[in-house]
């Protein structure tokens, strides 16, 4: 069901077709693709997609690992902490982005500029002055709980006896983390990062709500560009070509993700 439309997408990508112009459907060969190569917008969009995905994944994995380790150690109220921590992931992304934009980051009435005003950052319009930072921040807020959940599951599968033995052998906390914990949770971190990046590559909701791809094209990623070209510009052929590029990029990531997924299943099977 999803493969047939994709085949059609490839088909359309070889045609020039404006949805609003009757009879404008005609074969145009590789025109749409050669336009992609010369078009400034698509290069910006690819760059933004990669930048957004890499930074969101990097930050959320590192913070997620930290939070997971906190929740795996001896702390008060672990269960409640975990419950509250996963809320950002469950909140509707459009709702979350709106709350950030209008009630937290708004330069006039927002809470963050107010809290930052003693540091001289009181009138910073984050969404317009640092649009990419705002989008990344909201997405990190949303994806850190996802990473935390996966890494926490990995930490909890740790063999406590090995940790005890390491302590008896005089290993300090940093050594234990680097030699025992990290290798053990590595597959979980990889899984989280790869699954996460498959979702983050498709980021659309928060860009739509926060910046609408702007200012200019500063936060336009591939899905948003496709939306603009297809539904504001009605160029079906051009939009299809963008879709094909998006698929190629995702396929590269997905191949790695699937390999990790299968290797985890195989480790499970051997147990």
């Amino acid at each position: 069901m999803t493969q047939i439309p994709f085949a059609l997408t490839i088909y359309y990508s070889f045609f020039s077709w404006n949805l609003l112009k009757e009879g404008s459907f005609r074969f145009s060969g590789l025109d749409n693709y050669s336009r992609l190569l010369t078009d400034e917008s698509i290069r910006t969009a690819i760059f933004n997609t990669v930048l957004l995905t890499l930074s969101v994944i990097a930050f959320s994995v590192v913070i997620g690992l930290g939070v997971a380790m906190l929740l795996n150690s001896e702390v008060f109220g672990k269960g409640l902490m975990r419950t509250l921590m996963i809320a950002p992931f469950l909140i509707m992304p459009t709702a979350g982005a709106l709350i950030w934009k209008d009630t937290l980051l708004n330069p006039l009435f927002g809470l963050l500029p107010y809290l930052l005003s003693p540091f001289g950052l009181g009138r910073v319009d984050w969404v317009n002055q640092f649009p990419m930072v705002a989008v990344v921040a909201v997405e990190v807020w949303r994806w850190t709980p996802f990473m935390m959940l996966i890494i926490l599951a990995g930490l909890q599968s740790q063999n406590l006896e090995i940790l005890e033995a390491a302590k008896v052998d005089g290993a300090n906390a940093i050594q234990t983390f680097r030699r025992i914990t990290l290798p053990l949770v590595r597959p979980f971190i990889e899984l989280g990062a790869l699954l996460g990046s498959l979702f983050v590559v498709q980021t659309f909701d928060s860009i739509f709500m926060l910046t609408y791809g702007g200012p200019g094209e500063d936060t336009t990623n591939l899905p948003f560009l496709l939306y603009l070209v297809a539904f504001q510009g009605f160029s079906i052929g051009q939009a299809s070509a963008i879709g094909v590029v998006a698929v190629i990029i995702t396929t590269i990531v997905a191949t790695f993700a699937l390999r990790t997924l299968f290797s985890i299943f195989q480790v499970e099977a051997r147990r």
Binding site: T2, A87, T94, G96, I150, D205, A230, T250, A257
Partner: protein, 279 residues
């Protein structure tokens, strides 16, 4: 003796320190949600004040306004799209997962790979043809189109997840049932469904989360009649002036079903999100 009491005190101290650090981090992450709730309980002037209002007498006026206004149809559309598609996924995925897990055919692994690869295909890949198809079938702005689309989006995930749960049922059980002369249908209703109840819960939860929160297709395929809850929120981006309290109330209501479901089924959440790889 002395050494161990020092150790004990140090352990207690480190527990307090890490607890404080942990709660601080959790507070930062949870704060936007808390702030959304607080804003929703304010009056409009309180919500749009500078400096922000921290202490106020809570009121449910904005919730009343949202619920008595034009929000309910959007909410109902979301419910129809997500519950309808989740049920369809379960009905279609269970037999497929059963076939792949219990009675594997040749090249099962390839079939699995194909199934799951469709989930990883970006929405961008199928948007244009599906849009044209929906337009030609006059299904634009029809909730039925969203039900179908969400079903196809979640179906591979459903098959994959249910299979991972089915694999855990010992084979002996099926053989015993077959020896007792149970047919396929009996086997399914008496053994499979009760045993993978947690799996069905996990699958439903994940399908509900993805379809309830889905925006990309909803914004392109619906406009008024079939518009879902996230589309209602789009109206707040511009043109409605400073309605922050109303916005927060609508956002709270729109997020509530998934938030509650996710909180109740935390155990299933992790397994669902990792496609059954992490238990």
């Amino acid at each position: 003796m002395i050494a161990s009491s020092v150790d004990g005190r140090r352990a207690a101290l480190s527990k307090v320190v890490w607890s404080v650090v942990g709660w601080l981090v959790v507070f930062i992450f949870f704060f936007p949600v808390l702030w959304m709730w607080l804003e929703s309980l304010k009056t409009e002037p309180q919500a749009a004040s500078s400096p922000p209002t921290i202490l106020f007498a809570p009121t449910l006026a904005e919730f009343q306004e949202v619920l008595s206004g034009d929000f309910p149809p959007f909410f109902i559309n979301s419910a129809v799209a997500s519950i309808g598609s989740t049920l369809l996924v379960l009905i279609l995925a269970l037999p497929a997962a059963y076939a792949l897990a219990i009675r594997p055919v040749k090249r099962t692994r390839d079939v699995l790979f194909f199934f799951i690869s469709t989930r990883f295909l970006p929405f961008a890949a199928s948007l244009v043809p599906l849009y044209l198809l929906a337009r030609d079938l006059h299904l634009l702005d029809n909730i039925f189109a969203l039900v179908l689309i969400y079903t196809t989006i979640n179906l591979p995930l459903g098959v994959w997840l249910l299979r991972s749960f089915l694999l855990e049922i010992p084979n002996d059980l099926f053989e015993a049932a077959r020896v007792d002369g149970a047919g396929f249908f009996r086997e399914l209703t008496r053994i499979v469904v009760p045993l993978i109840a947690p799996g069905i819960a996990a699958t439903s939860l994940i399908c509900l989360i993805f379809s309830w929160n889905e925006f990309f297709y909803a914004v392109n395929f619906t406009s008024s009649v079939a518009a879902t809850a996230p589309i209602f929120l789009v109206g707040f981006i511009s043109g409605r002036g400073l309605f922050y309290a109303k916005l927060a109330a609508a956002a709270t209501l729109a997020s509530l079903p998934v938030l509650l479901a996710g909180w109740i089924a935390q155990k299933q959440l992790i397994r669902g999100l990792t496609m059954g790889a992490v238990k």
